[in-house]
């Protein structure tokens, strides 16, 4: 076994890259991940990536915000310190709605984006785990784990057949920055 860890098929066109994924899958070659400079619609279905459940998290955070706002206002304005404003009821629900709405949005946005950053491991100072520097520019990269047993020459020819401009053999997983 050589020292090659990952084989990268570098495509210049998203449709050709999708074609490359099909080719590899037809030959039962497992794809490690795909790196692209823009979102590719339909790629999740092809790779069998499960649907993101971030929307469920967003809803839960949002409803927490609604309840938090209601509890805060109810406690302060109705329970803790009632104010007599022209004899009107202290429990003035219509007046509570604007802040309940704002906090729903606030909790939902921060909770959801926080979950996104946490689940995708995005935070300031995280070392970028980059396999190919052009994956954020103009190349669409299919990464294949070289240790998985697929024959390298076959992977190479399949990728080139599908239109890969270049096939790279990385000896390190990430060409991270020195």
């Amino acid at each position: 076994m050589s020292n090659i860890k990952y084989i990268l098929g570098s495509f210049g066109d998203p449709d050709e890259m999708m074609h490359g994924i099909e080719k590899l899958q037809e030959n039962n070659i497992k794809i490690y991940d795909v790196y692209t400079p823009m979102p590719i619609h339909g790629i999740e279905a092809k790779l069998g990536v499960k649907r993101s459940r971030i929307d469920v998290a967003a809803f839960c955070f949002g409803i927490t915000g609604t309840l938090a706002a209601f509890s805060l206002i109810y406690f302060t304005a109705v329970v803790d310190w009632r104010m007599n404003i022209g004899g009107k009821p202290a429990f003035a629900l219509p007046d509570f709605i604007p802040i309940m709405f704002e906090l729903t949005v606030l909790f939902c946005a921060f909770g959801m984006v926080g979950s996104y950053y946490a689940s995708t491991h995005l935070f300031p100072g995280r070392a970028p785990r980059v396999m190919d520097l052009r994956a954020t520019n103009d190349r669409f990269i299919i990464a294949i784990d070289a240790q998985q047993g697929a024959e390298h020459t076959k992977v190479d020819s399949l990728l080139k057949e599908a239109g890969a401009l270049e096939v790279k053999y990385n000896e390190r997983k990430y060409i991270s920055y020195e």
Partner: protein
Amino acid sequence: MSGHNESILREPLITGKDITYARITEEVLMPVENKPNKAWWIGFIAAACGALLWVFAVSYTFWTGIGAWGLNKTVGWAWDITGFVWWVGIGHAGTLISAVLLLFRQNWRNSINRSAEAMTIFAVICAATYVVSHMGRPWLAYWVLPLPNQFGSLWVNFNSPLVWDMFAISTYFSVSLLFWYTGLLPDIATIRDRATGMRRKIYSILSFGWTGSVKTWQRFEAVSLILAGISTPLVLSVHTIVSMDFATSVIPGWHTTIFPPYFVAGAIFSGFAMVQTLLLVARKVLGLENYITMFHIESMNKIIIVTGSIVGVAYLTELFIAWYSGSEYEMYAFQNRISGPYWWAYWLMMTCNVISPQLFWFKKIRVSIPASWVLSIVVNIGMWFERFVIIVTSLHRDYIPSSWVMFYPTWVDISVFVGSIGLFFTLFLLFLRVLPSIAIAEVKLLLKSASEQEKKRQIENNEHDKVYVDSYVESLGKFDSVKQEDYAKV
């Protein structure tokens, strides 16, 4: 799919020949990766002088108190709240472009959303500084927060629109910032992977370790869509609540139920005008004519006519209701606006907001860059006067004629306002230098479907009916970045 087909009748969103993914990166990052040119330095120095004036005037206000402004016993709110509402309104277009147009799948938003969102953030910063400085004792600004009773005798009054406004503006600012920054991550990663040395280190931290893997993009798209979904009602709520600061009072001229929709339409109107003012210059100076095309300019002008007309209808409705309500105080407030000592402000507002934007019905004016730029500034002047008219003319003649006064701004009032424009442009010009002014990843999505070169290829391969092709080529006539000769032979 990235390669999906778009109707040939739709005008292209990217023009130019031989555009590749690499070239999009190159052209958008040109101002970020190179030394600034002379035009930028001139603009920046002028803006920075304005920002310094702002720092001085605001510090002076903090030191001496708001007695430094021209306010008096009768007119207790004037240029401060005018400036606040004006800036918040300008901010609204950014969210409208990034959120509402995303929900409506308007792909032309892709090349203008980034700078419009940046504009939102800077405009809200300018607005928020007014809120803090008009408090008089800004070091006690935290009193607007719902703090327990040991900070004073009471909690904040949750029935007050001013408290709602604090929640609305702070939510709006922080959610806009989050939306903007999350959208920036892939583009910061693009800069990072092209940079070396110190720059790479800085952008590496800023990029949060973005890789562009399948799962990252999948979640990114879900997050963007949900953020757009919650930002849309948010942006409408913000200006609704701003208008309630006035509408829930019992001052004639303020106490009207029409205020929320009227303020929201006015906000979108002034915001789009400010986007035009900025982008018409930026596209020229930064050489982005192929990405911010005549189609974008014309679309924004159409939104300006629509919202300007809504604002016009609102003005007329206000006048009608003042008469129809039978309330003599309400009627007097409007008579005073039209023909009182501030008649000039009222008519300036009417001309700039209702009459002059109607010129955009003429296609020649709508697709003319100088005309669009001048009219966008006219709209911004008009919208400033709208807030001035609503605030000052409703206050300056109250119920007792002996307390009737005029409002005269002091040099501090003027400096805070002029300075806030300087601050805004300083921030915007810095943004153009350090971050990509166009969402690179989103524009790349358009290359294989909505670009001129793709459509031209289809025409050359005779994929479309001649009638459609002719009408498409005719629609390209207005584009300043397309040469009609290229289509002469096809």
